[in-house]
């Protein structure tokens, strides 16, 4: 066993002294019974004892564990409590999980973003369990008058072998709750894990399959009104005037008014992104009645002036520019296409060797351009939030990935100190990055304040899709030089995008080529964008891994061997010092996918397949896609997914995420796009925005993890990026035609 100082998140381990003497009820979220998740009916204890900010133990041995991070489908509500339960050394059957509210004094990084939930809580959550176990042991040692060192635990039972004494945790919880938090604590060795690494089912599974209230939209409370917004029909426009009177008397309508969400003159958080600041609001008794008024309301819109908004996050300040004007996808595409290699507008991000000379001496040069459109997140549950704002308190409840930053925004906009703001979380019907941008929470709070009543703000699907924080539109242009022996001697990449580029200049294949040049450019836009599952990687992987496939082919090499040779070079003799990937782990997933898919082995000659590998969010994923064409449409038979994300906490749930990322990557690469004409989004619901459906999805997905002792890394995002390239490369294998422009379906049916 290894001894650790209990420094990480120590504040969370210190119990609330004022109530330590008695049964512990304070400090936990008892508010929404829908947040408690006993998988089976269990007998509840008469009394709970809070051991630390993460867990409390009942007098009957039942354990309640708080899950601090937002649950968006990445399964942290199960996986994070597993970490606590492991070190507590209790039975998983004895555990109840609750969704914790925002509490910065107890929890760190209550964010669902950057695939960081598990990695950032790996230490604190295990320590929360281990310190609690230590306190229970200390309490038992005192009661039995035996040395702590002679005590053992197993599945929530403390034993003293010499005397034959045993007790369950509940019997020692009252005494343990009175003890000081230990200074140091021992954590288990990986080989002793009984919960981590062993699949546990979703703690909300039963509620999901029986339709119990879980999600933000399922919130119904006494006196609650329903509100909807009407925003400008085009990016670059804003509300000028509206005829409230005409709809104010419609059945069930209680209030109609204009509203400004943020104040443009004050600094905002980078997560306060909102294209439409001034909007119309309709409040009423029921959704259907409000919808009728929404259809009937007449509003006039005017062109927005240029907006320059100062933003602050993590102590950094910047200015975000939203130019005036009504933008068109065709203009964006023409602008991005106007950049050639070495264009004066480009900025150099990395240069190794002498690329110019290497290209001049090349035996062969391959040059290709890849593009991708804006994409909408399209969480299946549209944006919504509940708010109850009174003079005393601001109470908000719903689905948001960034509760802490949202609280700051509310505090600023409402002029209310944070102590008076309570942010509670529901389960979320998808996130993918969209719910990082919590403008809808501020909107709900402002509406509640205005009408002096609790309210649930509901976006229609159309509101949700046309008021996006979209994935930006990108272009990546590559050229590679091969020498007479077909070695890649130089690589030049130009990454441009609106409003950001998708260029990771220090990732593979940088570091594997002597002469390398990476240049980029970013243009302004008033179409709001934001993080989208695996930001930038979600396009960079697709372009880069498709291009390397063509280079391998031009060099007459097997695509896996070609990549492995580059990775070997990066291990033995890397070029440059800023390479931010681990070439050995990257090669590891490629080897694993090669083995699992039987790449190159007898019997696979006739398969139409493509391969790709990528690194992001500290994890490595490689794919092989097998498909056949049915006319012009690909039928995807098998996808092999090899993942290295360090220790796998909940294998079946991680497999589910890898399957989901695979389907998401394929679906969006084939079908997903948002386009704009004069600022107007051309897709506003699922009839025009095509999402992948069951019959278009891969028939089988085979997921394998690299066995690892490394602390867990990201899992929500890494499976999405590379599969798009594996798909493109498989399409080439089946059709002899390469696809360069997402969504690929446009090129396939052209």
């Amino acid at each position: 066993m290894t001894t650790f100082k209990t420094k990480v998140g120590r504040r969370a381990f210190i119990r609330n002294i004022s109530v330590a003497g008695g049964g512990m009820m304070i400090g936990f979220n008892w508010l929404a019974s829908c947040n408690t998740s006993p998988q089976k009916i269990k007998e509840l204890p008469k009394e709970w004892f809070e051991i630390n900010g993460f867990l409390k133990i009942g007098d009957n041995g039942l354990v309640t564990i708080q899950s601090p991070n937002p649950e968006i489908g990445q399964n942290v509500k199960t996986s994070m409590p597993m970490l606590v339960a492991e070190e507590l050394d209790t039975n998983w059957d004895q555990v109840i999980v609750e969704q914790a509210p925002l509490d910065v004094s107890k929890y760190k990084w209550q964010v669902a973003g950057g695939s960081r939930s598990i990695s950032s809580s790996w230490e604190p959550l295990r320590m929360a369990g281990a310190t609690a176990r230590q306190m229970l042991l200390t309490a038992a040692a005192a009661e039995w008058q035996v040395p702590v060192a002679e005590l053992t635990t197993d599945s929530g039972i403390i034993s003293h072998a010499a005397s034959g004494k045993t007790a369950h945790y509940g019997q020692m919880a009252a005494a343990a709750a009175q003890l000081e938090v230990p200074e140091t604590v021992t954590l288990k060795e990986i080989k002793d894990y009984k919960i981590i690494g062993h699949s546990k089912k979703n703690v909300d599974g039963h509620k999901i399959v029986t339709g119990q209230p879980l999600f933000g939209l399922d919130t119904y409370k006494d006196g609650m009104r329903t509100a909807m917004i009407i925003h400008a029909p085009a990016f670059g426009k804003t509300l000028k005037s509206m005829n409230s009177e005409a709809v104010a008397n419609m059945p069930g309508i209680e209030a109609v008014f204009p509203m400004s969400v943020y104040s443009d003159d004050e600094p905002q958080s980078s997560f306060d992104t909102a294209a439409f600041n001034r909007m119309a609001v309709i409040v009423g008794r029921s959704t259907w009645e409000v919808l009728q008024a929404k259809k009937a309301l007449q509003a006039e819109w005017e062109n927005s002036p240029e907006r320059n908004i100062s933003q602050r996050l993590f102590g950094r300040s910047s200015t975000k520019k939203y130019p005036a004007g009504l933008e068109n996808t065709s203009d964006h595409n023409a602008l991005m296409a106007s950049f050639d290699f070495g264009d004066k507008r480009l900025k150099i991000f990395r240069k190794d060797g002498d690329p110019k000379k290497a290209f001049a001496q090349a035996a062969k040069v391959i040059e290709r351009t890849y593009t991708a459109p804006f994409r909408a997140h399209n969480t299946l549950e549209p944006m919504n939030f509940y708010a109850d704002v009174t003079n005393e308190k601001v109470f908000v409840l719903g689905p948001v990935q960034t509760p802490e930053w949202t609280e700051s925004s509310l505090s600023r906009r409402l002029g209310v100190p944070k102590e008076k703001i309570d942010v509670h979380l529901t389960r979320m019907g998808g996130g993918f990055g969209r719910r990082l941008y919590g403008h809808f929470v501020t909107e709900a709070a402002l509406i509640s304040k205005q009408i002096k009543a609790p309210v649930k703000l509901v976006y229609t699907r159309e509101d949700d899709m046309t008021f996006g924080t979209y994935r930006p539109t990108y272009s990546l242009k590559y050229r590679a030089a091969l020498d007479i022996e077909n070695n890649m001697t130089a690589l030049h990449v130009v990454g441009v995008g609106i409003p950001e580029k998708a260029l990771y200049e220090n990732r593979f294949p940088a570091g594997t080529i002597d002469h390398f040049l990476a240049e980029g450019w970013e243009g302004d836009s008033n179409i709001t964008t934001g993080a989208y599952r695996a930001p930038r990687s979600n396009f960079a992987a697709s372009a880069e891994q498709s291009f390397l496939d063509e280079v391998a082919e031009a060099a007459g090499k097997d695509p896996i061997d070609f990549r492995l040779a580059l990775l070997e070079r990066a291990q033995i003799n890397p070029v440059g010092e800023r390479n931010d990937y681990d070439a050995e782990r990257m090669a590891g997933v490629l080897q694993l996918v090669k083995e699992k898919s039987g790449w190159g082995s007898p019997g696979t000659e006739n398969l139409k397949r493509g391969v790709a590998v990528y690194f992001c969010h500290n994890s490595y994923v490689a794919n092989v896609v097998d498909l056949e064409m049915n006319g012009k449409t690909p039928v995807i038979n098998d996808v092999y997914v090899a993942v290295d994300c360090g220790i796998v906490v909940n294998p079946d749930a991680a497999t589910n995420l890898a399957e989901g990322g695979t389907v998401d990557g394929i679906g969006n690469a084939l079908y997903g796009q948002m386009t704009f004409v004069a600022g107007v989004p051309q897709q506003d619901n699922f009839d025009r925005y095509r999402l992948i459906r069951h019959h278009e999805s891969p028939k089988n997905i085979h997921v394998d993890f690299v066995k690892s002792d490394i602390a867990p890394t990201g899992m929500g995002e890494p499976p999405l990026p590379p599969v798009q390239a594996a798909l493109a490369n498989a399409i080439y294998s089946a059709t002899g035609k390469r696809v360069y422009h997402q969504p690929f379906i446009n090129e396939l049916i052209a």
Binding site: N75, K201, G211, L217, D218, W288, G429, R461, L657, E659
Partner: protein
């Protein structure tokens, strides 16, 4: 506004709403049966799937005035303790990611299996294609439908 008497999950309900109100909002706003989800409102996603006399139906397209004496079943009513074979299979395969689409998926799967107790893979893929899962749980849905068919 008008009074409608409805038979839902074997119980009688009375609601006072405008006749064009979709059953989706009657269930959610007026009866707080929130397992039936809103996803698109235009018959594209299947999140609102219920059974009307046993047939899978989109609640967002079904006006309350059209229901008459028909029996409505929602996700809350397909079993008493959440132990319908399809629900059990969903738990066994640990299908959900975010979970938002899953009540609609289950309602479609139940009606698919009622009509065709032993579907082939292709029949499942096509039969379930009206229900979008944004999280991409399709392969698990297929396994769960097959598991339910075998039970």
């Amino acid at each position: 506004m008008a009074i409608f008497n409805l038979q839902i999950n074997g119980r009688a309900y009375e609601v006072d709403v405008t006749p064009d109100t979709p059953m989706l909002w009657v269930l959610r706003d007026h009866l707080q049966l929130v397992g039936t989800k809103y996803g698109c409102g235009i018959a594209q996603c299947g999140a609102c799937t219920i059974h009307l006399n046993g047939t899978a139906t989109r609640a967002c397209q079904l006006q309350v005035s059209m229901v008459g004496n028909a029996e409505i079943t929602t996700i809350e009513g397909i079993s008493e303790h959440g132990d319908h074979p399809v629900q059990k299979a969903w738990i066994e395969e640990d299908v959900p990611q975010c979970g938002y689409c899953q009540s609609g998926q289950i309602m479609t799967a139940v009606s698919l299996l009622n009509a065709n107790p032993n579907p082939t893979d292709a029949e499942i893929e096509n039969g379930m294609s009206g229900n979008i899962c944004r999280c991409g749980t399709y392969t698990r849905i297929k396994k769960a439908v097959k598991r339910a068919a075998q039970s």
